[in-house]
């Protein structure tokens, strides 16, 4: 099979030679990665697009400094995360939290089952699954940015603990611990909202 996709090295070289149109391939390939990081730091579509564009402009401007010591995805992810942190710091209207401890203690983490009561009282398997899914998603949105970024990178981008740790400049063990804690928290929320037999 002929590999029609250019290698990343080749792509970067062509872009650095001035072939800016090739950069579109990079954008198309990594926009989901950038979005999965930026999504928690922005609260509307307009800001999201702006931030993602700024990230890619930064990637383009710094491409000559990329030395292939890491994967391009990790490098872009790191730029995206740092940019989002700066963005949040500049726009203090977005609150940031680094810890999920308060969420455990205050009991304000997530919605409970009652919020679905007005949706539909018909119980069937599909609906139950959808309900569980909505509950999990709602609770993820209540997690601090860092935790949600880790979850998105692991589950949506299928990155390893190591790659995530490089992006966030955190120890691998910390990334793993945050990920496990977030999922455990989601599980506890799920168990507190449903009876065991509803989850089987």
């Amino acid at each position: 099979m002929v590999n029609t996709q250019r290698s990343e090295l080749e792509l970067v070289r062509l872009i650095l030679k001035g072939n800016i149109k090739i950069f579109e391939e990079i954008i198309n390939k990594y926009q989901r990665l950038v979005l999965s990081i930026a999504v928690r730091f922005t609260n509307n579509q307009y800001d999201r697009e702006e931030v993602c564009q700024e990230i890619f402009i930064k990637v383009y401007q710094n491409l000559s400094g990329f030395n292939f010591n890491s994967k391009l995805s990790t490098w872009i992810g790191k730029i995206a995360y740092n940019h989002c942190i700066n963005y949040v710091n500049k726009n203090s209207k977005y609150s940031t939290t680094d810890s999920i401890d308060g969420l455990y203690e205050n009991g304000n983490f997530g919605s409970n089952k009652s919020q679905f009561e007005n949706i539909n009282s018909t119980i069937n398997t599909d609906f139950e699954e959808k309900e569980i899914y909505i509950l999990v998603r709602n609770n993820i949105n209540r997690l601090p940015e860092l935790y949600q970024t880790i979850i998105n990178l692991f589950h949506l981008q299928e990155m390893s603990y190591k790659e995530i740790s490089e992006i966030l400049t955190l120890p691998e063990g910390t990334v793993k611990s945050y990920l496990f804690r977030s999922r455990k928290l989601l599980k506890e929320k799920l168990l507190s909202s449903y009876k065991e037999e509803e989850l089987i």
């Binding site: 800016i20 149109k21 950069f23 579109e24 954008i27 198309n28 926009q31 989901r32 979005l35 999965s36 999504v39 579509q45 999201r48 697009e49 993602c52 564009q53 890619f56 402009i57 383009y60 401007q61 699954e129 569980i132 899914y133 999990v136 998603r137 993820i140 979850i151 998105n152 589950h155 949506l156 990920l179 496990f180 999922r183 455990k184 989601l186 599980k187 799920l190 168990l191 065991e196 989850l199 089987i200």
Partner: protein, 162 residues
């Protein structure tokens, strides 16, 4: 074997390397409580891995981003070009003063000691043979005309755009 901990279940679902993988799998065969736990986690994993929840960027996202980069590059080049034009002017004026006897003309401005330029020019150009000088001068003059022309075209293009 004791019931599986949350960490063990998550490590198992994350497909981490586990020394006691066989023990875990054997335990799951017989323990209903742990099977329930793992199924709960599986539902969470399914929800977390659903990409549909991620908002989408506009269809022309890459196009608009490339346009922004091109604009930024153009701006950068304009600054560079203007600096180049300014430098070319300085060099050409200096050459003119030296080679076309503009010193006598400029001597009307008595406050300025133009002999400094003459001395500088002599030092620099005494090392060049006459042929090299003529070629250099020709290149510089052509360069100046070319840059002025580009500058004029850009200005008129901006004017048209406005």
């Amino acid at each position: 074997m004791n019931h599986l901990t949350d960490d063990q279940i998550q490590a198992y679902l994350d497909k981490n390397k586990l020394e006691n993988l066989n023990d875990i799998e054997d335990h799951l065969q017989v323990c209903q409580k742990c099977r329930f736990n793992i199924n709960t986690y599986r539902q969470i994993y399914t929800a977390l891995s659903n990409e549909d929840e991620l908002p989408v960027l506009s269809n022309n996202f890459s196009f608009t981003t490339i346009s922004k980069i091109e604009k930024a590059n153009e701006k950068k080049w304009n600054i560079f070009e203007n600096i180049l034009i300014a430098l070319t002017f300085i060099v050409s004026i200096s050459l003119s003063i030296y080679f076309f006897d503009l010193v006598s003309f400029a001597s009307y401005f008595r406050e300025i000691d133009f002999s400094l330029f003459t001395g500088l020019g002599e030092k620099v150009f005494s090392t060049l043979s006459p042929n090299v000088f003529y070629i250099t001068a020709a290149i510089l003059i052509t360069g100046i005309i070319e840059l002025l022309d580009r500058f004029r075209i850009q200005k008129s293009a901006k004017h048209i755009n406005h």
